[in-house]
Subunit: 289 residues, 2 copies
């Protein structure tokens, strides 16, 4: 059984990105520049944005963090988005989700210039992904395909079951893996809260992408011998033994499932680091465009 080491692959990709940045700068171009808007003080969001800023430093990107109080208005935020759209030094930017409830997240995401939308959340970029056109692929699905590619896990003709139809993971992953491409061509079944007899579906799968956000949901009895399992879940579960007071749990009951798999991602250290590095890849693409 192979542990799919997201940290290892992410570090390798970061080295490649750093080399590209050096080439750009040596050629007299400016540093790639990623900006992030963060509203409020959600613990998970603070951590994720922190990882993104740190990763920018590691590869030689410039980064800007715009951190606003959770009471800011939608109008204020739209204006900040417009400023980033207009800022020629900023190659790409993200709006960290979730946003406070009084702000319409769809409205904010629609305001982002698609050419700077390195999260790949804007409808025009989602549409291009769906149509198989070049675009910014949202970071987690892109990270998953990079992991599979690194470990030479062929997807063509394989039966893939994606659990969870979120707009940022499950849905785009289902599209990416079934598109006509070297990291696609799988036969994908998208499962969700209304799916009947989920176990029947997961037992068929050569590759399972668990992205529903329920800790330890996928158990050993739901997985075929030799399957590949990608765990996208990262739920904070109270844990008195940890200094932080919580531990991160994936959507997969690791020990049970690992015993049956041919390959599996751990949590943490699997998909998480790949999501951050995929954002860097998109930003590099934006800087080169």
């Amino acid at each position: 059984m192979q542990i799919i080491d997201g940290k290892l692959v992410a570090d390798k990709l970061k080295q490649e990105i750093a080399a590209s940045v050096k080439q750009l700068v040596d050629a007299g171009k400016k540093q790639p520049h990623l900006a992030a808007i963060l509203v409020g003080n959600d613990g998970g969001s603070l951590t994720y944005v922190g990882h993104k800023v740190k990763a920018c430093e590691q590869v030689g990107f410039k980064s800007t963090l715009l951190h606003f109080d959770e009471t800011v208005s939608e109008e204020f935020l739209l204006n900040e988005v417009q400023k980033l759209n207009a800022d020629k030094d900023v190659d790409g930017f993200i709006v960290q989700l979730p946003l406070p409830k009084h702000i319409d997240a769809d409205k904010i995401l629609l305001a982002v210039n698609p050419e700077k939308d390195v999260d790949g959340f804007h409808p025009v970029n989602v549409g291009k992904l769906t149509l198989g056109l070049p675009t910014y692929v949202s970071a987690t699905p892109l990270g998953i395909t990079k992991l599979l590619e690194h470990y030479c896990i062929d997807t063509s003709g394989k039966e893939v079951v994606v659990i969870g139809r979120s707009n940022i993971v499950g849905r785009p992953a289902s599209i990416l893996l079934s598109n006509q491409s070297k990291t696609g061509n799988a036969t994908v079944t998208l499962c969700h809260s209304r799916t009947h007899n989920l176990k029947e579906k997961t037992l068929r799968a050569d590759i399972i992408i668990a992205a529903l956000g329920k800790p330890e949901f996928l158990t050993g009895d739901m997985v075929k011998e030799g399957a590949v399992v990608i765990d996208v879940g990262t739920t904070r579960v109270p844990d008195a033994t940890k200094k932080s007071g919580f531990s991160l749990k994936g959507d997969v009951k690791f020990d049970e499932v690992a015993a049956k798999c041919s390959a599996i991602t751990p949590v943490p250290g699997g998909v998480g680091p790949m999501t951050v590095v995929s954002l860097l890849l998109n930003t590099l693409q934006a800087a080169k465009a």
Copy 2:
């Protein structure tokens, strides 16, 4: 076994559209106006555009057909698209596919103002569909959901197999049927040319959408007893007994499959009329917007 009568449902919807048009005109608004660009003299395209123009007349829409020689340049066509984008009297327009090979179809479709893109082919509209946002849903998938709705065929939790991943039918149908909506919530598997052991997949399906464009491909042995089968295929097959010299064949071997189904669409008279009426529905939506 129920024959799903697309002509019947389309006629009913046309009556409803005609009533809406009358209401608009009675209220002093202008007639909805659909324009179509047709390049060249492909027999199928001439027929389809002819049906669309006729359907406009039936419901009281104004229609404009711009029919150009197949030698027109891409630049000329882009200019025509811009003219329609700017024409305030035109609510929506379509560019009939396929286009001649010297014209980049993606470039033309990207030039269409998404607010007038009643075919739902522009990436921003495809993206909105993918994200579950209100948009123009491309006509054939919309027509399929309208058929299922009319015949009270519930999709929630059902196992749906879509055969064919084209951008205008298979892919958007797979998304529409799995989205969170009253005509969605199915567990959808998207099958395509790289799928291994397709029969194994189709035999699981409660609902099969055949949209691969191979005449009589789906045979009786590939279908579960009691399944619902939607046939999107319309291939012209030479037929000396017909005045036209051809007959239309669906993707389904009708007699064999019908014997096992609980419901099935014929070809012609199934999905075809629904595609045209869905375009009218989108145009009405554009006119009201």
